[in-house]
């Protein structure tokens, strides 16, 4: 694998300093135009998202909106921590054109490649 979005960054120092975050489940695809990253963050709305591009790293942070449920918890499987995951970016990605959308707890990041690196056909006269 070359340096692409699928490589995850987990430096030890970062791990020690971070709070207790959940790792969102992700799907990552590469097409000829760029990468698509989908991350599952149920309980996070658009306003709870923080996406940071720094150097060749992208950090996805999802803050859950607080849940108010009065009453007694009978059964728990969910963990109500925030989400965080960091990825290395392929240098071919055009950082200025990264876009994101959030739909029912699924973040979709579009990471287009810059024009120079896209495969192109050259017409021969």
């Amino acid at each position: 694998m070359n340096a692409t979005v699928q490589q995850e960054v987990r430096p030890a120092a970062d791990r020690a300093s971070r709070q207790d975050y959940l790792l969102p489940d992700v799907n990552i695809f590469e097409t000829k135009d760029g990468y698509v990253l989908e991350a599952e963050m149920p309980g996070v709305g658009k306003e709870g998202l923080e996406i940071t591009l720094e150097g060749n790293e992208i950090t996805i942070l999802g803050h859950r909106h607080p849940e108010e449920v009065a009453g007694e918890l009978l059964f728990r499987e969910r963990r109500l921590a925030d989400y965080r995951r960091v990825f290395d970016l392929d240098p071919a990605i055009d950082a200025a054109k990264v876009s994101a959308k959030m739909d029912q707890g699924v973040l979709t990041l579009m990471l287009p490649k810059s024009e120079q690196v896209k495969p192109r056909k050259i017409a021969v006269d």
Partner: protein
């Protein structure tokens, strides 16, 4: 649907949440510890997707919250039956990446079903469900008979 285990109030414990790796262990643990889940749910081990859910109770309602990110409302089914509630549905895979190279596939697509047994009857006609930010919240009001009552006794 039959539950083979008598309902007891379970001890509440937060799952450690190491994700997928602990699923099998959790499943086995639940078989022995949790009377709230249907035994038939072990079949989910093979199919893959077991959405996490919480169950709350206050004096008037039970509240079930289930994490179902990326669903369409019409693909979620909530049904009541004697003794419990079932949440099922299907998350359909999108075809748009047919020609793409796949790097990670951690998300699950397909059918799921979860069943929760409730310790007291609920008013079926007053059940409400809401789906927001990938979390389904089902509010199940208790029947009048099932609500705790206070009986005043005159002391002479």
């Amino acid at each position: 649907m039959n539950s083979l285990i008598r309902w007891n109030r379970p001890d509440i414990a937060a799952w450690p949440g190491f994700g997928r790796l602990t699923d099998l262990r959790d499943e086995i643990g639940r078989l022995f510890e949790s009377p709230l889940t249907e035994l038939a749910r072990t079949s989910q081990l093979l199919s893959g997707w077991t959405p996490a859910l919480d169950l709350y109770e206050d004096k008037d309602n039970f509240v079930v919250k289930a994490e179902l990110p990326g669903m369409k409302r019409e693909d979620i089914e909530v049904s009541l039956h004697e003794g419990g509630i079932s949440i099922s549905g299907e998350r359909k895979s999108e075809e748009k990446h047919a020609d793409a190279e796949v790097y990670r596939t951690e998300r699950f697509f397909g059918r799921f079903q979860r069943t929760v047994m409730l310790p007291t009857p609920v008013a079926g006609d007053k059940v409400k469900a809401a789906y927001k930010d990938g979390v389904l919240t089902v509010t199940l009001p208790k029947t009048e008979e099932a609500k705790p009552k206070q009986i005043e006794v005159n002391v002479n």
